[in-house]
């Protein structure tokens, strides 16, 4: 039972129950809200960027275990990295969710790799990608503040 296994996963539970990056930054460079209106998931992502490098990051808001843990694991990965590397992680994650990532890619994603099986739970895909697509939107649009819509194309599998 793939699903119970995922939920039984201590990594997922740890990041959900005791996230490392939940809270607000003092002086964020960028803030973006990401929502999954159908789910009620709603997160605020805050990044501190200095010389193109993400020096600190946090998230707040509410949502299910999958969106919360996925975002927390994402922040573990990208803090200390430059924007390009962060975007690269996001690409790998999206590929993994679509079931198109290589084993190497998944290895690179470290703990976030535990969400690989979410591709078999299409209804939850949009929870898993919420933080990641909010990040990507921030990077790509270089917004300092805004609102990231539910992206239907991205979540095609997660209708």
């Amino acid at each position: 039972m793939a699903i119970n296994n995922l939920y039984n996963n201590t990594i997922l539970n740890e990041h959900n129950l005791r996230p490392s990056h939940k809270g607000k930054l003092d002086n964020p460079t960028m803030i973006l809200e990401g929502v999954n209106p159908t789910c009620g998931d709603d997160i605020f992502l805050e990044l501190q960027i200095e010389d193109g490098v993400i020096t600190d990051a946090s998230f707040s808001g509410s949502g299910c275990a999958i969106s919360q843990a996925s975002t927390d694991m994402m922040l573990d990965l990208i803090i200390g990295e430059d924007k390009e590397t962060a975007l690269d992680f996001a690409d790998k994650f999206m590929r993994m969710i679509r079931g198109e990532a290589s084993e190497e890619d998944i290895d690179d994603l470290d703990e976030a790799g535990i969400l690989r099986d979410i591709s078999h739970m299409p209804a939850r895909v949009k929870c898993a990608v919420l933080g990641w697509r909010t990040l990507r939107e921030m990077m790509e649009k270089d917004t300092t503040e805004g609102y990231a819509h539910e992206d239907h194309d991205e979540c095609a599998a997660g209708r």
Partner: protein, 405 residues
């Protein structure tokens, strides 16, 4: 454990092994309804109302007999008062576009309740926006009841339409429709009753409820998707302009003029869903055969089991009344520390189907201070085994999520 003699009529259970607790979203279809669709397609498939030949006449009869069945089912005076639509939502939109947009004047009020499904809120907002009227909301107590003070304060002159749900799809409570209708009529308002959640579970009689309009969906009542009902009092329907325009809803069309068809056809533009209506006919007959007593007894008994089990779980909270009999088989709940989506996904691992989210009733959840809940909802095919299995699995959820007991 009591056996449920009707469960075997629903092939999906044997086919899939699901524990289906989402009947408030849509019901399952019994074999007779599934067979009715096939029978229609194999034996009388033709465009009804148009043809002068055998199978078209049979199709027409099937369609019009369904209207007769619905008429009897809800106690209307005439089959002409029964309009077939796509679903309850379209029925409400028809009333909003055709009736409300014609009668509302700036400053008028449409009164609804904060516990309505979006489909009984948004059409009124649309009509209000177009006409300069406004929408106001009756606000219930936390158990879903309305105080007399609240009713008296808001059902006043200037209210032209009172749109009220018969049974809430979140709290499961029955609203005092008759009382509200009487008050509404006393101030000159017409009533629109959303019976989407009641018609499948209890006797709904338009006269007894004092409904000027009443809507429901076939698919929550064991009929196929794509068929819904609007009842309207004949005098009102006669006066209303048509909504959708096109084939079948006219008497004649010339280069410059047109004359609408008589009721009910005036409101049924284009090719009708005769298969759906035929399925609804069979579903209502099946429902009558089961009987509302059986449904009531089954739902109350199973709801009580959920309540009893829940009482042993301090982290499990049920929305609405403390009395299982006031839930009509609908149990919305939360579990401390676990998001409703996680609840639903975890239960899905055991093929238990419940709903999680805002149940298309966001204003109610906002009012109750919740953003999302889980909901188990019952129907006549559910068994004690279903609800016991469900509650057993519920007990594991917090453990799975990493909480101790």
């Amino acid at each position: 454990m009591k056996e449920n003699q009707f469960r075997k009529d629903f092939p999906i259970f044997a086919e899939t092994g699901v524990t289906y607790l989402d009947s408030a979203a849509t019901s399952q279809r019994p074999q007779v309804v599934i067979d009715a669709e096939r029978e229609f397609n194999e034996k009388m498939n033709a465009n009804p109302l148009r043809g002068l030949y055998g199978i078209s006449i049979e199709a027409t009869d099937a369609y019009e007999n369904a209207r007769e069945t619905v008429k009897e089912f809800i106690g209307a005076d005439s089959a002409r008062e029964i309009i077939f639509t796509r679903n309850a939502s379209e029925s409400l939109n028809l009333v909003a576009y055709s009736y409300a947009c014609s009668v509302l004047k700036p400053g008028d009020t449409v009164l609804t309740t904060i516990m309505e499904h979006h489909s009984n809120i948004l059409p009124w907002r649309m009509a209000a926006e177009r006409t300069g009227a406004r929408v106001e909301y009756l606000e219930p107590e936390h158990d879903g009841t309305f105080t007399d003070a609240e009713l008296q304060k808001k059902i006043v002159k200037g209210v032209k339409i009172v749109a009220v749900g018969h049974v809430s799809n979140v709290l499961g409570c029955i609203n005092p429709v008759k009382k509200i209708s009487d008050m509404a009529h006393a101030v000159g308002a017409v009533t629109v009753v959303d019976a989407a959640q009641s018609a499948p579970h209890m006797k709904v009689d338009v006269k007894e409820l004092g409904a000027d309009f009443l809507v429901f969906s076939g698919h929550k009542l064991m009929a196929p998707f794509g068929i819904g009902v609007l009842y309207g009092r004949r005098e009102l329907l006669e006066e209303m302009p048509p909504f959708l325009r096109g084939g079948e809803m006219i008497e004649y069309v010339t280069h410059d003029t047109e004359k609408w068809a008589e009721l009910p056809h005036k409101f049924e533009a284009g090719t009708v869903n005769a298969t759906g209506a035929y399925g609804l006919d069979r579903a209502i007959k099946y429902l009558k055969n089961v009987g509302f007593d059986f449904i009531r007894e089954t739902e109350d008994r199973l709801t009580s089991i959920i309540f009893e089990e829940a009482a042993t779980l301090p982290y499990f909270h049920i929305l609405g009344s403390d009395d299982p009999k006031n839930h009509n088989g609908i149990v919305s709940f939360t579990i401390d520390g676990v998001h409703p989506h996680d609840i639903s996904s975890i239960l899905d691992g055991d093929k238990i189907c419940i709903r999680a989210g805002h149940h298309c009733a966001q204003p109610l959840l906002e009012y109750l201070g919740e953003s999302s809940t889980a909901r188990a909802s019952l129907y006549l095919y559910n068994t004690e085994e279903d609800v016991r299995f469900f509650m057993d699995k519920v007990k594991n959820i917090r453990g799975i999520m990493g909480y101790g007991n």
